[in-house]
């Protein structure tokens, strides 16, 4: 018995060492790649600080150039998550708790399928199908809710507004958020759920008392990943959005702020010299925004977990 005990650690220790080395290498590689991107963006972006108005689309300095893009990026992503998050969480609950098992599986597969649609296809869908159809409802919004700054108009005839772009982004972020939430919800300990039901809770109360608190940090992670997708999405936004580089909360006119990623895609093919640096600088800003957003998300998630731990 002792011999066996002595032998086992030696073999498994070698496996441990190899696995540990591999895992560490993977982690380091990712960090190096990330650092490499950060260094590249910083080095190549810095010359943009001295860019002349000619390379900045007539803006006086780089801050004035990037600011409307930052605004547009955040606005589009925020609107998208506003639509996608509640929808995804509801959808995930249906799959994990409400729908009968026979129905839940196919629904789950269908949602996953949404994630496999290329973003150009979403772009085409937005420009040819969704835009013109939403365009008519924008006219209604302008007539009836025009007193709100969001629906001031004039309503865009082709519907290629930041609201339409956000709807497209929401559809793109939806499968990511749904997939993660579904996994988390279905892993809520059955004992918790049965205990809640035994105490006389309705199904909704049971979900509120057991599923949500248990899945809280996971839900936030899911939303953050969805937000990352919405922040960085390029092709679909570049195609759908009629971008003119203004700062406005007006969601239904054809004059919209552009997003950083879409602006790079639109400007890069014909850019040369300092203009490339300007675009890379805006990429650096997007990199930092994504970083900060993720960091904040982690912070919120961590706080939630401490509360749970009490």
């Amino acid at each position: 018995m002792t011999a066996v005990q002595l032998e086992r650690p030696t073999t498994s220790r070698r496996g441990d060492a190899v696995f540990k080395a591999l895992a560490t290498a993977a982690a380091v590689l990712i960090l190096v790649a990330l650092a490499g991107v950060a260094v590249f963006l910083t080095l190549e972006g810095m010359p943009a600080l001295q860019a002349e108005p000619g390379a900045l689309g007539g803006k006086d300095n780089i801050v004035l150039y990037v600011w409307p893009l930052v605004f547009g990026t955040l606005l589009a992503a925020f609107l998208a998550i506003l639509m996608a998050a509640p929808l995804s969480i509801g959808l995930a609950l249906v799959i994990s708790h409400y729908a009968p098992r026979r129905l839940a599986k196919p629904i789950g597969y269908l949602i996953d399928l949404l994630a496999a649609v290329p973003s150009v296809v979403y772009g085409l869908w937005g420009i040819e199908f969704l835009g013109p159809r939403l365009g008519t409802s924008y006219g209604w919004l302008e007539d009836n809710l025009g007193f709100l700054p969001f629906f001031e108009g004039p309503a865009s005839g082709s519907g290629r507004t930041i609201l339409t772009a956000s709807v497209v982004l929401a559809v793109m972020a939806l499968p990511i958020i749904t997939a993660i939430c579904r996994e988390i919800f279905s892993q809520t300990p059955t004992l918790h759920q049965e205990a809640a039901l035994a105490l006389g809770a309705t199904r909704w109360e049971m979900i509120r008392m057991t599923v949500f608190p248990y899945g809280r940090s996971g839900m936030i992670s899911a939303v953050m990943l969805g937000l990352g997708r919405a922040l960085g999405e390029t092709m679909a936004v570049a195609m759908v959005l009629s971008a003119t580089g203004v700062v406005t909360f007006n969601l239904i006119s054809s004059v919209n702020p552009s997003t950083i990623a879409a602006n790079i895609a639109l400007g890069f093919p014909e850019a040369s010299g300092i203009k490339v640096n300007v675009l890379i600088f805006s990429g650096l800003v997007l990199f930092l925004i994504t970083f900060v957003v993720n960091f904040l998300g982690r912070l919120i998630a961590a706080r939630g977990q401490i509360k749970e731990g009490r």
Binding site: V120, G157, S158, G159, L241, S242, A271, S272
Partner: protein
């Protein structure tokens, strides 16, 4: 638990991304169908010729490549549509033996001298691609529309904002114009089309269009569309829209006639080709340099003034025989009657006028090895 769910979400995401990349890559490499073949003029050429430059020429270059390669099965021609600036840069650095460019070489940034040095002599410039830029519109019930350069400038500068504006009505007697606001669609990406369009407006009506020649749309008004297809889609799907795009892409949309002198001219290839005949050459250029200063302000009858001209840039002599033969062969095909017809069919460009084509053929025929 967190880790597994992470992976479940990442995998489809990554798949979507990979698909998107592949799809867009395919789109770029897409070749335009077959072209008429040169009958039996097997010249014994072989090798690979790689040039590049203006993306405006891409469709035409694809047609030429297909036609030339069909006639010379052992030759591979590549055209990389990296943009005019990139094309000129690569040419002067010796990367491309020939390049396409939407503007001719100048010495503003020393490009002309650099090209002359690279070639060991004056570079060749031939206006091989002339294409009309149409003002397209989508207004219900309006089948014909006449516009003056000034009105076009004011519409795109957000000064005329209603279709029933007296300035438009004055040019279109008997046409029922709706009392609706105008949505002016422009390119949201930087493009040579915008450059030529604004160059026209800035030259002809500098008061109504004070922004001059720009590649990137200068004002925060109107609607933006990504690429020619984006502008056409926005004009088609919108209501009471107007935009500008390569005339060959206008499809079923209404196309405005532009006032030249006292008459209104529609953007046909023939009318566009005429502008080179009435425009002066750039002064102080050698015979092999066919650079034109487009005379946008012409009032010659039947000339359509809003055009995109693109040049072929090459050397008179090359170091090795093979490159010289390939460039000579390919460029001869492009400026030949057959080549110009192929481009007109497939890319909607305007064939060179016979006198200019003759001159271009003579220049190309003189290409040789050192």
């Amino acid at each position: 638990m967190n880790r597994t769910s992470f992976r479940a979400a990442i995998v489809p995401g990554a798949a979507a991304l990979a698909l998107a990349v592949t799809l867009s890559a395919c789109g770029a490499a897409n070749e335009t169908g077959s072209a008429a073949s040169g009958d039996g003029e097997s010249s014994g050429l072989s090798g690979t010729l790689s040039g590049g430059g203006a993306s405006s020429q891409e469709a035409a270059q694809n047609a030429w490549r297909a036609g030339f390669q069909e006639a010379n099965p052992d030759v591979t021609v590549n055209y990389d549509p990296i943009g005019s600036g990139g094309g000129r840069e690569q040419f002067t650095a010796g990367g491309f033996p020939f390049a396409g460019s939407d503007s001719y070489l100048t010495d503003d940034e020393g490009e002309l001298s650099a090209a002359a040095e690279q070639c060991g002599g004056d570079p060749i410039e031939i206006p091989n691609y002339v294409s009309p830029i149409a003002v397209i519109y989508n207004v219900e019930g309006v089948d014909e529309l006449n516009l003056s350069p000034e009105v076009i400038a004011q519409i795109f500068n957000d000064e005329i904002t209603n279709w029933s504006d007296p300035a438009i009505a004055e040019l279109n007697e008997g046409v029922e114009l709706p009392d609706e606001s105008i949505t002016a669609v422009h390119r949201s990406d930087e493009s040579g089309t915008t450059e030529n369009f604004t160059n026209f407006l800035g030259t002809v009506v500098p008061d109504a269009w004070p922004h001059g020649e720009v590649g990137e749309w200068p004002i925060d008004a109107g609607e933006g569309g990504n690429g020619t297809s984006g502008v056409v889609a926005a004009v088609t799907n919108g209501t009471n829209t107007i935009g500008y795009a390569d005339a060959s892409q206008a499809g079923d949309l209404g196309v405005a006639s532009v006032q030249v002198g006292d008459e209104f001219v529609a953007p046909t290839p023939e009318a566009a080709a005429k502008i080179l005949e009435v425009s002066p050459r750039v002064e102080g250029r050698p015979d092999v340099d066919m650079a034109f200063d487009l005379d946008y302000e012409t009032d010659e009858a039947g000339v359509y003034p809003i055009v995109l001209t693109s040049y072929l840039i090459a050397c008179q002599t090359y170091e090795d025989q093979e490159t010289a033969d390939l460039v000579k062969g390919y460029l001869s095909y492009i400026v030949s009657d057959e080549g110009q017809q192929v481009a007109a069919e497939q890319a909607g460009s305007a064939p060179l006028a016979p006198s200019l084509a003759e001159e271009a053929i003579a220049i190309v025929d003189a290409i040789s090895a050192e």
